[in-house]
Symmetry: C2
Subunit: 322 residues, 2 copies
């Protein structure tokens, strides 16, 4: 049932257009890195780990076409500023090209990163699911599923793993304005996996938590700073505040590649502002795509290298020494 | 510039259809209480005080047509369960009919309640604005403006009054899913009043508050319990929690008719659940229309009878002895 948003065939990257889901399943065939960059910028492919994988394939396409890898990397990194996986994948490709030199090596690297992502997802999902108890009702925000990672999924992977072990009763899915990744993508993935779920307006999560209808909150991440502060889809921070107030766990599920030891704290993470028209056709709007949750509100971070807990600076130095 | 959502002319109540705003200004001509009840149920007219005024006119229409006032009251009260102003207006009309008896008295009563609402709004707005300081940036949720009260407005009235006194720099407007009353109605009212504003996704309010971009939160109310707990549009409670965490004032602006001394606390307030299709066309959804904010998170309640502050039970007994 795992959705596969990225496929490489016949010297092209096929990108499942997530803007059209769940209504239509259309694929965009990218023959060049520039076409992949467009897909990332316009959010045909989205989710921090998935855009890292897409960027790795884009670097491979650039290599196949004999394009300048430095310039391609710069183009890719400029598409979306908050997710750090993108820069991480570009750097790995540039380093590999510098050391190897034989054409075709970057395609192998991209395929390897893609496989690694799936393995990381499965490991961190199992670690996260181990925290669940039978009958738990979880709440998630945005989409941190297979569509967002090109693997098993991170936050949704934890939910899938908990469900497979009989430890999950139901999922509350924040619709996630303005682009409705929860209502469109997470609900679609949970439906395919047969996991009971209900979509709610983002603003309803507070009263669900206050009523005792949520046992755990699980979200993904776009960048984790060296001190454990977490940038994720706008609307994540209020959930962490509400979880703390009502004393339920707030978990972050993310691969190590999401951790950026070079960013000291959340205040240093660049927050992308997107087109105000996504929010309101009627008037002037302000549309930050992400917010920052301070580490003090995070119960645990599930990674493929283990479960991180406070003090996060030490835990992060251990798994991502920068 | 005050929008007038309700007008009584030629033995009919004209209802401005708020579902079509700001795109189109269409009026629904109601000749019977049943037609007014439809407008309330379908939210052509919405906002706790405005549906109270509409219900008073509906009772007058029933009287003019010689319809049973008991049955009309029951019909009106069943349209929307959370707002208490509706029940309050119906009861006032029934009591007036029982004591007076001459046909036409209920139309006079409705006009009087309508005038009283505007006067109450202006008084409570001035009291609220007195709490503002020059340069303040306020955040509001849903629409508690002229459209919601058929008067000067409550939360938006406070903002208008603060603006007129040079004490307001900007308003952040929560779009207010699922029906977008903020993006559609509040933005429209603020535009007409010339007040600078930006619309944001509901989930963005948390990071605005965390960044220090909000000095005060001001909302309306659909019912205030005897202990000061406040039912208001879904998404109000998370704002109160965030305001408390970041130590900024969280104000409620509402006429005395919104206070229900017969409801001991927020847990006893019935929360209307609306059609899940309002939230998601794609999957199963859960759509509570309101949430409850505990009195402990409310800095002050602005009413026409004065500013209420903790301990709310005493303050409420003073102004609404029930």
């Amino acid at each position: 049932v795992t959705a596969r948003p990225l496929r490489f065939e016949d010297e092209a990257l096929l990108v499942l257009d997530q803007r059209a889901l769940p209504g239509r399943e259309t694929w965009i065939r990218c023959h060049s890195a520039a076409e992949v960059a467009d897909c990332i910028r316009e959010m045909a492919v989205r989710g921090a780990p998935a855009i890292g994988v897409a960027a790795a394939y884009a670097m491979a396409l650039a290599e196949l076409r004999g394009e300048d890898l430095e310039r391609t990397g710069t183009l890719l990194r400029a598409t979306r500023p908050t997710a750090v996986n993108l820069a991480w994948a570009v750097e790995r490709a540039q380093a590999a090209a510098a050391s190897a030199g034989d054409t075709g090596s970057l395609l192998e690297l991209a395929r390897e990163l893609h496989r690694e992502q799936d393995e990381a997802d499965r490991r961190l999902s199992a670690l996260g699911a181990a925290r669940f108890k039978a009958g738990d009702r979880a709440l998630t925000h945005c989409n941190a599923g297979a569509l967002a990672t090109a693997g098993y999924g991170t936050a949704c992977g934890v939910l899938r793993s908990a469900w497979e072990q009989g430890l999950l009763a139901q999922v509350w899915v924040d619709e996630t304005r303005p682009l409705l990744q929860g209502a469109r993508l997470t609900a679609w993935e949970l439906e395919r996996a047969g996991i009971p779920h209900r979509v709610v307006a983002d603003s309803a999560a507070g009263s669900l938590i206050a009523r005792g209808a949520v046992d755990r909150v699980v979200v993904g991440a776009d960048r984790i700073a060296a001190n454990g502060d977490v940038a994720n889809k706008i609307g994540t921070y209020p959930l962490a505040v509400l979880a703390a107030r009502h004393e339920i766990p707030f978990y972050v599920a993310a691969p190590i590649s999401t951790i950026d030891p070079a960013t000291p704290d959340g205040g240093s993470i660049p927050i992308e502002e997107r087109d105000p028209a996504e929010v309101s056709e009627h008037g002037r709007a302000f549309n930050p795509a992400f917010d920052v949750t301070p580490a003090e509100l995070v119960t645990a971070i599930f990674t493929e290298a283990g479960v991180l807990e406070a003090p996060y600076d030490e835990a992060i130095r251990r798994v991502a020494p920068g």
